[in-house]
């Protein structure tokens, strides 16, 4: 009986612990610092994050900084990547599932003009108003790679390592 209840306890706590899926953490706008560019994070419509398997969150001031971090750091321990819905800033979207607008009339904090949306329809509506291209996360990474990380493209290298 006693052994049984201990076993039970172990099973229950294991189940509870497994249920602790790492998830996005709240960002303290106006005091948290971007893990990539060191700028203070102030805009909720751009603040993004990567959560690792231990549940620790790396916060970024923009989608472009998150993508740059994703490209330059060891990603083995990453659990998930999150971007805010530009039209509903409380809502976190998985970076790979989100749809992005790359439009020069919508300025983002680090100047690569990227904003994220829940689905293609809402992105299309924004595109009608602001122009630009609708892209996926892979293309976002290519844009960051081209603009910041690869040399010889005319823009300055962002990494100093």
């Amino acid at each position: 009986m006693r052994g049984g209840s201990i076993l039970m306890l172990i099973i229950v706590s294991a189940a509870v612990l497994m249920g602790c899926e790492p998830k996005p953490q709240p960002i303290n706008y106006g005091s948290d610092e971007c893990a990539y560019c060191r700028m203070m994070i102030t805009d909720a419509e751009f603040g993004s994050q990567i959560v690792n398997k231990q549940g620790r969150s790396y916060k970024f001031d923009s989608v472009e900084c998150m993508a740059a971090y994703d490209l330059t750091e060891e990603s083995e321990n990453f659990h998930s990547k999150w971007v805010p819905n530009f039209l509903n800033r409380e809502e976190w979207l998985m970076a790979e599932n989100a749809v992005y607008l790359h439009s020069e009339t919508l300025r983002s904090p680090m100047g690569l003009f990227l904003s994220a949306y829940k689905d293609r329809d809402s992105a299309e509506k924004m595109k009608e108003e602001y122009g630009g291209d609708i892209v996926d996360y892979e293309t976002v990474k290519q844009i960051v790679e081209r603009e910041w990380l690869s040399n010889g493209s005319g823009s300055r290298p962002m990494l100093n390592n």
Partner: protein, 414 residues
């Protein structure tokens, strides 16, 4: 003969007055012309528009020809939370002496009280902006002067304001004697060449008092940056000289007097860093000369990451900082020479004013708290003091080559 001279003078004066008379329009709330937009529309290029005291409910006043607009006793332009107030697209425009309130707000449009787009040689002077989203916004301009303006935020709500003076893609601007309070960044520069920024006071802004992004050349001096959310940030820029500024009371987990990120070939001279969490933070910074600054009563005087190289610290006063220098690696690629360190405990037997033993500004404990921030609670304990002393005598974990060979015995007088 004498009469003739008088005649000529009078004729000259008459012609002069007649001309200015022709090129002048007066706007007043109860006059014939009672709106600024109307006056701008009917004005010939070069006209002087004088605006009498009163309140004008107007926004999106487009100025597409060279004009001078002058407010008498700060007439108020109230935008009623709609759009921009002035949008200037012509060269040689002057806007002077207005009080402006309530621009529009938006997450996608940068509504500003005074927007200057693609213009040259303008003067924005002596205006008082309150309750605005962005204050003065320069986009793709050349040789403009922004002088003696005052910009205050909407309210103190976090992150809801735009920047006080915002410059994007600008050449040779002069930003002089302005006062910015409570905005996101006090003064923000992105893709700006050769800015001259002096005499400004930028206090209590939510993010940075002054923020450089991708902006090369130029200098900022004689400015005050006080109690900003994170201090002053100079990022991804080269050849920026920073002289005689005051960086003070920037407290918080991510707050710095001055944050340097990816900066090359610059000079930091004659500044005072007083009571900041970190006086100077440096990451990816190369060949910067930090000379003759007073760095006093900060948590950390200097935090320099190991990816910073060939920077020189000379003739600075390091006074009563909790930690003098912090770094993240036992390697050191920077030079410290001839500074005064109030924590120096050496001696000067030959009495030449220079300590006879080197000073090691990185304490063992500062290395420990880099890895284990919680251990900060042990600061000033006996045990830590013993460890630090032992480490200074025989460095094991702290950078062996990071020391000041010629520390000054007395505070350097300025």
């Amino acid at each position: 003969m004498r009469g003739n001279v008088l005649k000529i003078v009078f004729t000259g004066l008459f012609v002069l007055f007649a001309q200015t008379g022709l090129a002048q329009i007066v706007v007043s709330p109860d006059g014939e012309i009672n709106s600024i937009s109307q006056a701008v529309e009917m004005a010939e290029p070069g006209t002087h528009i004088q605006v009498q005291p009163g309140t004008y409910m107007e926004s999106d006043i487009g100025i597409d020809k060279p004009l001078t607009l002058e407010g008498i006793d700060y007439p108020l332009i109230d935008g009623n939370n709609k759009g921009f107030i002035f949008v200037i697209t012509a060269d040689s425009v002057t806007i002077k002496g207005f009080s402006i309130k309530r621009t529009g707000r938006s997450y996608v449009r940068d509504y500003a009280a005074i927007m200057i787009e693609g213009a040259k040689d303008f003067i924005i002077e002596d205006n008082r902006l309150e309750d605005v989203f962005f204050g003065i916004y320069l986009a793709e301009t050349e040789r403009g002067i922004v002088r003696k303006n005052r910009v205050e935020a909407f309210d103190t709500r976090e992150a809801s304001s735009g920047n006080g003076i915002h410059l994007w893609s600008v050449k040779n601007p002069k930003i002089i004697d302005n006062e910015v309070t409570g905005m996101r960044d006090g003064i923000y520069l992105e893709f700006v060449d050769n800015a001259e920024i002096y005499g400004n006071v930028s206090n209590e802004n939510n993010r940075y008092g002054l923020h450089y992004m991708f902006s090369d050349g130029g200098q900022y001096y004689d400015n005050t940056f006080r109690r900003n959310g994170a201090g002053v940030a100079v990022m991804y820029s080269d050849n920026v000289n920073m002289m005689n500024n005051l960086f003070e009371h920037n407290w918080g987990t991510a707050a710095y007097g001055l944050l340097l990120k990816d900066i090359n070939y610059s000079k930091i001279e004659g500044n005072r860093f007083y009571r900041n969490t970190v006086g100077i933070y440096s990451e990816g910074t190369n060949e910067v000369h930090i000379h003759a600054n007073d760095i006093e009563l900060n948590g950390w005087a200097v935090n320099i990451k190991s990816n910073s190289a060939r920077n020189r610290f000379t003739d600075n006063n390091f006074i009563e900082n909790s930690f003098d220098v912090q770094t993240d690696s036992p390697r050191n690629n920077n030079e410290f020479e001839g500074n005064y360190w109030s924590q120096y405990e050496g001696y000067d037997l030959d009495r030449d004013g220079i300590g006879d033993v080197p000073y090691r500004p990185v304490s063992l404990f500062s290395m420990v708290i880099t890895k284990q921030p919680e251990s900060l609670i042990l600061l000033r304990s006996m045990f830590i003091k013993l460890l630090d002393t032992a480490e200074r005598i025989a460095p094991v974990l702290t950078p062996k080559t990071l020391f000041d060979e010629n520390p000054k015995m007395d505070r350097i007088k300025r």
